[in-house]
């Protein structure tokens, strides 16, 4: 299990290299990476603020629940903070389980919970100003399925 909250850029594929391999029982590995998306074509940067200390605690708690619930054999969470450019990976999760249904469900659960329960806040910086990204009702509703 590995959790990293970091300012440094990372490549999700590189981080996933070797993940879950050589572990007896692993039959399925799922990774998810979120990328800074420039929806309006005007995004200069995305600034991600976080709550040092609570961030690590919250992620560890969410991860422990996923590991127990889907019998994960390995798991990984990386989340950046600070200033990111369009197209840069913001965060990733990886899950290794016996079967694909477990690995997929755990990865989706991690994403849904990290999005609404880990203390990160995004601010979009454009040429004309800066705006905090509002939480979406759909993201909060997504938690109901778990």
């Amino acid at each position: 299990m590995r959790v990293a909250v970091q300012a440094e850029a990372f490549d999700p594929g590189h981080e996933a290299t070797g993940f879950g391999q050589g572990m007896p029982g692993v039959g399925a590995v799922v990774t998810f990476a979120g990328v800074v998306r420039d929806t309006t074509g005007t995004l200069a940067a995305m600034e991600i603020e976080h709550y040092p200390g609570m961030t690590e605690r919250a992620i560890a708690g969410i991860l422990a629940e996923a590991v127990a619930r889907w019998h994960l054999l390995d798991a990984l969470v990386i989340h950046r903070h600070g200033r990111l450019g369009p197209g840069e990976p913001i965060m990733m999760v990886a899950t290794a389980a016996a079967h694909r249904a477990e690995a997929f469900a755990a990865a989706e659960f991690l994403m849904d919970y990290l999005k609404s329960r880990a203390p990160f806040w995004k601010k979009e910086i454009t040429a004309t100003g800066a705006e905090w990204v509002a939480a979406k009702d759909a993201d909060e509703d997504a938690l109901d399925r778990w």
């Binding site: 603020e49 609570m54 605690r57 989340h79 990290l114 203390p119 990160f120 509002a134």
Partner: protein, 82 residues
């Protein structure tokens, strides 16, 4: 004494990331009332607490939660990670 932390637009409206307060507030809601009474920038930040979240010692909590024994209170908008 209690550490009070502010994040995202709450931090921006209040104009500082954290402060150390001497308070007799019994609950989070009492503390918010105290802050709101202090200065306009606090009133602006806490105008709609339904748009806010609170954490006590780094665990999410309700505004009705007691502050007894708590060392760190944090106020922030709903998270937007991932």
């Amino acid at each position: 004494m209690i550490d009070v932390l502010y994040f995202a637009w709450v931090r921006e409206r209040i104009g500082l990331p954290r402060e150390r307060l001497d308070t007799a507030a019994e609950t989070v809601a009492d503390l918010v009332a105290e802050l709101v009474a202090r200065e306009e920038r606090y009133a602006a930040a806490f105008a709609d607490t339904s748009a806010l979240r609170v954490a006590l010692d780094q665990e999410l909590a309700d505004f009705s939660a007691p502050l007894a024994g708590v060392r760190e209170v944090a106020f922030f908008p709903p998270m937007t990670g991932g």
